[in-house]
């Protein structure tokens, strides 16, 4: 009989004998009489036996042999083989002990441990599929083995696995006998202080480990008696991060343990968290603590449908509400606020909790309120009530939310009349300057008004009445915010109870609108403003439209209609609301189209032909607003009527090709332009004067635009009209028409080109560049040639035109279907900037040789500023080395003409600094020159006589401020940057000295900016960057 067979026989009843046999074999192995391989081979027939007990014994034999070997006998390879073997056999008794022993050997490496752990992990999946009893039988031994195996593990990769394994163990196995052991095995790692090494070779973050550890600790309720006290202890730590981990873990436990367990510890937890919330040092800690309380309340509410004082929930809440009531006795003191937050958290957790809180809290608050000796105190109490109202809204819903299955009655109903009285009194009965008090009351009232099934309609109506009174009868005080609040409250109510707004607010407001603006007061503006903001709901908008359109129609019939500002304001009100609503899907859109687009366009035509009752519809601002309104109401039939404005030919002469028209008639082009903008591209065939092609129409409009007699508004309309035609409606084949037109405008023989003509040139260029016509480069070059014109006026007007090129426009816009290619800004930028830059360099080198060249440099800098102001910052950054010297030269301009250029430059600089920090400027080597120029721009009285307006001074101070605060750019904030000396340090003394003088600037805004900038330099510019914690 072999040693193995003897072993199998005796192992169960005679442990000593078994051990002796194993030792014998071990000696043989040591003496090289036999090898491990042979032993393992011997095992062969037994370890595949069906009976798990025999398998276990066989594996135990091997384990016993290994145990008997001297510690250093086994080679690394042997250990590896054995580990793999045991790993594969882990489900059999004895394998774990074997692993345990191997692990204790010196030659057992980290890598092997990983392998072991992985083997374990693999096999646990098998375990899951095995029957409960079987698992149970082998449980204890393996469990302890597993835990021992993990002990002392430090490698994050392994820990990730270890935690996962243990989580499964804790969730699936009966751990009641080993809860503490298991808990200790994982809790040893708490708190995780792991920091990924440089380059992060594992891709494991501290958060990953924290999450897994947290899952372990919260895995089983058996851990609660160990985990909760331990975690609460950790809240005594001085490190906010440790406290944060402990709280997160606690919250996870609360959500994962069963309600009974949570209940057992609820009061203990409250006693500790109370301190964290009431004496909050860090806001995130108190927020987490509040989450934990809310979590407990929710867990304790599970399955509870009847309110009773016997509930564990009631016991828990009792201690909380008692504490809060005490704190609220002095509502102005610091701890009242956290008490409020506690009430908010627990009361919003469940309906039952809400009832319990309301029962104990509301009555005492009323008592303190009645006895309060000051309004500030009362306000704090109203805020607390308001917090409860919000919880009610969260739980019981709004009027507009679908009916929920809340079976419990809202406990606030009992106090309904009291609330109404107190809030009404606070809102309307207190002194007008008690602004914050009244606002608080207003907000609380609003919450109750939108709370589902709470107030009756007449009670909400009373509140609406109050709001109307505030808006209509009260004078705006210095802090006009109460009115703002009132408007948004009405707007909110309009979503829930539109009828009340239509019945109460509308009549009251419309009654105050005058028949005309006779110049005595502008009270109609705030009234219309309010109406606009509360009329977004469909029913209300219909009422608004009817009322306002009626007003407008009356105005148009009057001989003496007063100022056009009033009809314009009415139109703007309609415009504002229509923009807020989706007009396309409005069922009444045909009505609006008929009344506004057709009806009012006809009236415009009548007025232009001198047949109107008054001149309202010939006012350019009214026309502009009406045009925008027409633009929103789009229908295809507009195309034929763009110029005729829906009027018969014998009544009205359309603008194009007309001779000797009056300024009134010309002004209708404003409406035509907006109508044209609203048309889709496909309508081009229906637009008059466009066949066989557009050349005649374009030429006619261009000639009108070039004329110096056109009014500004009419002029702009012509420009936009031309641009729309060329950009949107001109087909690709016909594009040369516009390009030829452009060339003819540019290549004029006269030396001076009029500003009007230059604007036409730019708008035409804009139209073509937006669609990236083939000739784009040629167009841009032509513009730059004009910029270099030896004629000062031409060059100057061209310089200002560059902002038009890429600027956003309301009419030639994507919303109006203009063809705007994606990369047009890049194209313009990359074409123009190098040319401008080299031109300026030329001027700098040749100096003052050419007399005429004096204006060239400022003109180019102005053009640059115009382009930069219309370009997204990410385009600017790659060109920075070229741009920065130009920007610095822009700051050297001194005249008052250059104020806008310098302001735009400072704007660009501030964006550059904000996005990229000082580093990019240092890379270009311009820190000193930049700081110097900025400082010069902050000076009130300069030695050179430069004009620095207050705005320039403020802007340059802001740049200085940014320099100091953005030494490390936002994007790089999280990566570790090698500590180095700030490039700003050499400038520090100079900046601090110069800014000291700016502190005495006569302008307050400048002084404020100087204080901030100086503070930032004092604080942040240091030898070494500050350690971010």
């Amino acid at each position: 009989m072999s040693a193995l067979q003897t072993f199998l026989l005796v192992v169960e009843h005679d442990k000593e004998e078994a051990k002796r046999i194993a030792e014998g074999v071990a000696q043989d192995v040591e003496a090289k009489k036999t090898t491990l391989i042979e032993i393992v081979q011997q095992l062969g027939e037994y370890i595949n036996d069906e009976d798990p007990i025999i398998r276990g014994k066989a594996v135990s034999f091997l384990t016993a042999v290994i145990k008997a070997l001297p510690p250093r006998f086994l080679s690394r390879q042997q250990i590896q083989v054995l580990t793999t073997f045991f790993g594969d056999r882990i489900e059999d008794g004895g394998a774990v002990t074997g692993l345990e022993h191997l692990q204790a050997l010196d030659r057992f490496t980290v890598e092997l441990a990983t392998e072991t752990a992985q083997a374990l992990f693999r096999n646990f999946q098998d375990l899951q599929s095995r029957s409960q009893t079987q698992r149970f039988h082998m449980g204890d031994e393996s469990l302890v083995g597993v835990v021992d195996l993990m002990t002392g593990e430090k490698d994050p990769r392994n820990l990730m696995i270890v935690f996962s394994i243990l989580k499964v163990v804790m969730m699936e196995w009966d751990i009641s006998n080993h809860a503490e052991l298991l808990f200790d095995s994982v809790y040893n790692y708490f708190p995780i202080t792991f920091r990924p090494p440089p380059n992060d070779p594992y891709g494991i973050t501290a958060q990953d480990l924290k999450d897994r550890l947290q899952e372990c600790i919260s895995a089983s309720r058996h851990l609660a008696p160990h985990a909760i006290p331990a975690l609460l202890d950790k809240l005594d730590s001085t490190s906010p991060n440790v406290k944060k981990d402990a709280l997160n873990c606690l919250i996870a436990c609360i959500h994962s343990y069963d309600p009974d367990t949570v209940s057992r510890f609820s009061i203990t937890i409250w006693d500790v968290l109370k301190f964290e919330i009431l004496n909050a040092q860090e806001e995130f800690l108190s927020d987490l603590s509040l989450d934990a309380l809310k979590g407990i309340t929710q867990r304790l509410s599970e399955g509870v449908s009847e309110v009773s004082q016997e509930l564990p929930l009631a016991q828990f809440l009792k201690s909380i509400t008692k504490e809060c009531n005490e704190q609220l006795q002095e509502p102005q003191q610091r701890q009242a606020k956290p008490a409020q937050q506690i009430l908010s958290s627990v009361s919003s957790a469940s309906c039952v909790a809400f009832v319990l809180v309301v029962q104990t809290v509301v009555a005492p608050i009323f008592t303190i309120y009645q006895e309060a000796d000051g309004i500030a105190k009362q306000r704090a109490l109203l805020e607390t009530l308001s917090v409860l109202f919000q919880s009610a809204v969260d739980l019981f819903g709004l009027w507009t939310t679908r009916k929920s299955e809340v079976s419990i009655e809202n406990p606030l109903i009992e106090f309904k009349d009291q609330f109404s009285d107190v809030l009404g009194q606070a809102l309307m009965g207190s002194a007008k300057e008690e602004f914050t008090f009244r606002t608080t009351a207003l907000k609380a009232f609003l919450r109750l008004s939108v709370l589902r099934d709470f107030f009756q309609d007449n009670e909400i109506g009373l509140f609406v009445q109050y709001l109307d009174d505030i808006l209509l009868k009260e004078e705006s005080s210095g802090r006009g915010d109460l009115k703002k609040e009132a408007i948004s409250a009405l707007a909110e109510i309009s979503k829930h109870k539109p009828r009340l707004i239509i019945d109460i607010t509308f009549p009251a407001f419309v009654a105050t609108l005058p028949d005309e603006d006779d110049g005595t007061n502008k009270n109609y503006l705030p009234t219309l403003d309010t109406l606009a903001q509360i009329s977004v709901e469909r029913d209300i908008f219909e009422t608004l439209f009817r009322r306002l359109f009626g007003k407008l129609s009356i105005l148009l019939q009057k001989e003496q209609p007063g100022s056009p500002a009033y009809p314009r304001a009415i139109l703007m009100t309609l415009l504002y609301v229509m923009r807020q609503r989706k007009m396309d899907s409005d069922p009444s859109v045909d009505l609006y189209f008929d009344k506004i687009v057709v009806g009012l366009s006809q009236s415009v035509a009548e007025t232009a032909s001198g047949q109107g009752r008054n001149q309202i519809l010939s006012d350019p601002t009214v026309l502009d607003t009406l045009g925008r309104l027409c633009n929103l109401l789009r229908q295809q039939q507009v195309a034929e009527n763009v110029y005729s404005l829906f009027s018969p030919a014998d009544n009205f002469i359309p603008v194009p090709f007309s001779q000797g028209v009056t300024a009134d008639q010309e002004r209708t082009i404003i409406i035509s332009t907006y109508l044209l903008a609203g048309l889709s591209k496909d309508c081009v065939a229906h637009i008059p004067y466009t066949s066989p092609d557009m050349s005649a129409l374009l030429l006619d409009l261009v000639q009108r635009a070039v004329s110096e007699s056109a009014e500004p508004a009419t002029h702009l309309a012509y420009l936009r009209h031309v641009a729309l035609l060329a950009n949107k409606f001109l087909s690709k084949q016909d594009l040369p028409i516009a390009e030829k037109l452009f060339d003819s405008l540019v290549s004029s023989d006269q030396q001076t080109i009029s500003p009007e003509k230059i604007r036409v040139i730019f708008w035409l260029a804009k139209a073509l560049v937006l669609r990236l016509a083939l000739t784009t480069t040629h167009i841009l070059n032509s513009l730059l040639d004009l910029l270099s014109s030896s004629d000062f006026k031409t060059s100057n007007a061209t310089a200002r035109g560059f902002a038009i090129l890429l600027g956003e426009d309301d009419v030639v816009s994507a919303t109006n279907g203009a063809s705007i290619r994606l990369l047009f800004k890049q194209r313009v930028f990359t074409t123009v900037i190098p040319l401008i830059s080299s031109r300026i360099r030329d001027v700098n080198i040749t100096g003052s040789e050419g007399q005429a060249a004096d204006h060239i440099k400022p003109a180019h800098l102005t053009a640059l500023a115009g382009i930069l102001s219309t370009i997204p910052p990410d385009l600017v950054m790659p060109e920075l080395p070229t741009l920065l010297p130009l920007l610095l030269q822009s700051l050297d301009l001194q005249t008052s003409d250059s104020v806008a250029v310098r302001a735009a430059t400072l704007d660009t600089l501030s964006v550059i600094i904000r996005e990229n920090g000082v580093a990019v400027i240092e890379k270009c080597g311009h820190v000193h020159s930049l700081v110097q120029r900025l400082l010069k721009t902050t000076e009130l009285k300069t030695s050179t006589g430069a004009v620095n307006t207050p705005r320039l001074r403020v802007e340059s101070l802001k740049c200085l401020h940014l320099l100091a605060t953005k030494q490390i750019p936002d994007a790089a904030q999280n990566t570790s940057i090698p500590a180095s000396i700030s490039p700003l340090l050499p400038e520090k003394a100079l900046v601090l000295r110069s800014l000291r003088a700016v502190l005495d600037d006569p302008k307050r805004d400048v002084r404020k900016a100087a204080v901030d900038a100086r503070g930032a330099w004092l604080r942040s510019v240091d030898d070494a960057p500050e350690e971010e914690d």
């Binding site: 806001e283 500030a376 705006s476 210095g478 304001a569 806008a900 502190l999 100086r1014 503070g1015």
Partner: protein, 189 residues
């Protein structure tokens, strides 16, 4: 941190603190926003007029108050303004040399009201206010920070320390103290 001396002080609402009423100055702002949405037709670079350019706005008590009201209390993350440690009526600006006509020198006096009469941090608060003002006011201003009479048990002692240039300078050399003060000023805006 050591045990707090006053863990539950009374707090004023930020919205109730005195502020400069700026909205009233500019009539343009009072036009409701829906009418401001559509801009008038102005070109880029048309110089926007700054007509009140010449109007001088001298440094006044409100401005001093605005400089110091956001300093945080060393004990709480709450501002001195909210705690009513500094208040507008307790700030005054007077000519330093009333007899010399046209002298630009001015003295700012700030009286501090500690939240409790035995507050040992009163000196630190006083120093903080002083440092903030010295960093933020032009050199022609003299800064005088004192404890308001009758609000502190050892007010005279503290005042002596705050008024003594040498002792203030010595205190500011103290790294730990400067750290506390820097922390207090972080919330300034």
């Amino acid at each position: 941190m050591a045990e707090m001396q006053n863990s539950n002080p009374t707090i004023l609402n930020v919205a109730d603190l005195p502020t400069r009423n700026r909205a009233a100055q500019k009539t343009r702002d009072s036009i409701p926003e829906i009418f401001a949405a559509t801009p008038d037709l102005v070109d880029f670079l048309s110089s926007d007029s700054e007509d009140d350019d010449l109007l001088e706005e001298p440094i006044d008590e409100q401005e001093i108050y605005d400089l110091i009201k956001y300093i945080s209390d060393p004990e709480h993350p709450i501002s001195l303004g909210e705690l009513a440690v500094v208040s507008l009526p307790d700030i005054s600006i007077k000519p330093t040399l009333p007899d010399v006509i046209g002298s630009p020198l001015q003295t700012v006096t700030v009286l501090i009201t500690p939240t409790i009469t035995h507050c040992s941090l009163a000196t630190v608060i006083g120093l903080g206010v002083r440092v903030r003002l010295e960093q933020s006011l032009p050199p022609r201003f003299r800064v005088d920070v004192r404890i308001k009479e009758g609000t502190h048990s050892t007010g005279d002692e503290v005042n002596k320390q705050l008024g003594d240039k040498e002792r203030v300078a010595a205190a500011l050399e103290n790294g730990a103290l400067m750290q506390v003060i820097a922390k207090m000023m972080e919330t300034c805006r």
